[in-house]
Amino acid sequence: MDFAWSDQQRELLNAVGRFASQQLNYDVIENDREGIFNHEAWKKCGDFGIQGLLVPTDYGGLGTDPLTTVAALERLGYACRDNGLLFSINAHMWTAIIPLVYNGSEAQKKKYLPGLCNGTLIGGNAMSEPNSGSDAFSLTTTAIKKGSRYILNGSKIFVTNGPIADLLVVFATVDKTRGTDGISAFLVEKNSPGMNVARKLEKMGLRTSPMAEVFFENCEVPEENLLGKEGGGAFLFTRSMTWERGCILASAVGSMQRLLETCIRYANERKQGGQSIGKYQLVASKIVDMKVRVESSRHMLYYYGWLSGHRKSVYLEAAMTKLHIADCWVKCSEDAIQIHGGYGYMTEYEVERELRDAIASKLYSGTSEIQRNIVASMLGL
């Protein structure tokens, strides 16, 4: 088993790290406080090539393999402190780009992928509803065919990138009586008549990533915007969700590495009782635990990335990866605050924000409880 990066991979990862540390870390504290999305940084990422990782070169992407992709996202998370920006990028990649890559018609791919890859188009998806979160497939938004159009009616909540998206993949049912087999996916462009992106939702963390409720009132969507087949929505969603689970916390591994280094530095410099606090076992022990969490998360991530390129089904591994990394990230963030003492609580030190950002990781892409259910069922229990 060769754990080494190739020269080409190393070159790519170093380029990502250099780009992110020099170009993306400004105004993070204020943007987090005010809930402002950094459009300029998004555009820089698009020009640099982040959003296009994984997408075949025919459609404007870089065609990188999954392992290199997750390693690049890890490096991005290490070098860029704006977790919200990265969350928006991830939502865009896994919920809009992936479904198009796998289920889009040639015309749909050519129309949307190039812009999604270079960041000129922002994408997202609309799945959750006020009454269906974990139980996603019990959604009630309808899409009734009328001539050459589908008419959508319903409301979606927790739409990441909602306020800024040019394109949303909206899940609705064409026939409630068919249950899961009625769920279909639609490409809905912003400002479609009958589509109302309502108030921005204010969050505990990931505040630089905008989120909104979206209402569909007799929203007309042309039939060529059906993504995949009628009734194929649940399968499409599950596949995109599997990618999301495996990859969305790649940058979290990078964030944890950064937190670890910050804590080591602080523990060595901060002196209390005549010695650096790192010499106290209770502090050292927390940092050791952080280190072990970073390493185990990294290995699960890389294994998932490698497997993704070598095997068709990674459903189990994706769920385990997400479950584990989310847990580690929240614990590392909490430990980081504790190690920094009072300073860890101050927004100026940018440690408390990590915890606020991390907590959501146990909720999105399927709560940690859902991930556990998945693993249990895959184990035959």
Binding site: R10, E11, N14, A15, A79, Q257
Partner: protein, 246 residues
């Protein structure tokens, strides 16, 4: 118009490494002033005034990473003169002269100094050897008269100076000429297909030896740690009585 950009691989002055990496992580970069030169060449090409940008560097295979970075920024092709010796500006300029004679560029744009050696000589020596006009410490470049002349603003000790050069000429860059673009991933991937020509000094017809020998390198003595003062009054008192400088 063909632009030749000589560049040097130097230790990273800002040294930011990813701690998760093994110790073999690269700590070299393109000399920042040369990066500015590459960027300027790219902008000149984007304005439609240049058709080819050729990079050249001197060194062992370990500098290939910087060559690929230059290609990733947008340089069309690169030459590495395979020479692992410790060279001085005297030798570097004479090797570059041979490359200039081979490539016949219309203009050579390079950094004013390498941030490890800080000699600030190579561009000027090269100009002297070739008998070409030179403009050093340049903060803006404009081509005139169907690209037969270049008008350059130079940063000097007293302010700014504008000079005009007949081409071909040598231009060395100063900090404020531009802000270099970062290497993009598409650029990096395209760079993998761009040619790197490796040549020895013999192959370009130069046989030169450095005339400078470094006998020793040492850190200067550290200034003793300073004293913190708590008020303007205290500062003035100390400057008067202790330092005797007021």
């Amino acid at each position: 118009m063909k632009i030749l950009v000589p560049f040097k691989s130097v230790p990273d002055p800002n040294d930011a490494t990813f701690a998760g990496e093994a110790a073999s992580a690269s700590k070299s970069v393109i000399n920042p002033f040369d990066e500015i030169a590459i960027e300027e060449a790219l902008r000149i090409r984007e304005r439609g005034e240049a058709t080819e940008i050729v990079g050249v560097t001197i060194g062992a295979p370990s500098v290939d990473e910087q060559i690929r970075a230059a290609l990733a920024m947008g340089v069309d092709r690169a030459i590495r003169i395979d020479d692992a010796r410790a060279l001085d500006p005297y030798a570097v300029a004479r090797i570059l002269r041979a490359v200039v004679e081979k490539e016949a560029p219309h203009v050579v744009i390079m950094g004013k100094q390498a941030v490890d050696d800080d000699s600030n000589q190579v561009g000027q020596i090269l100009a002297g050897l070739l008998g070409w006009p030179q403009a050093t410490f340049v903060s803006s470049i404009e081509f005139l008269d169907n690209k037969t002349r270049a008008r350059c603003t130079r940063e000097t000790d007293a302010g700014l100076e504008v000079v005009e050069l007949d081409l071909p000429a040598i231009i060395t860059t100063d900090l404020r000429l531009n802000e270099p673009r970062y290497v993009s991933l598409p650029g990096l991937i395209r760079a993998r297909r761009k040619p790197i020509e490796v040549l020895t000094c013999d192959q370009v017809g130069v046989n030169v030896r450095p005339l400078t020998t470094v006998l020793a390198v040492a850190r200067p003595p550290k200034r003793p740690a300073g004293t913190r003062v708590e008020s303007v009054e205290e500062l003035i008192t100390k400057l008067k009585q202790e330092a005797k400088v007021l």
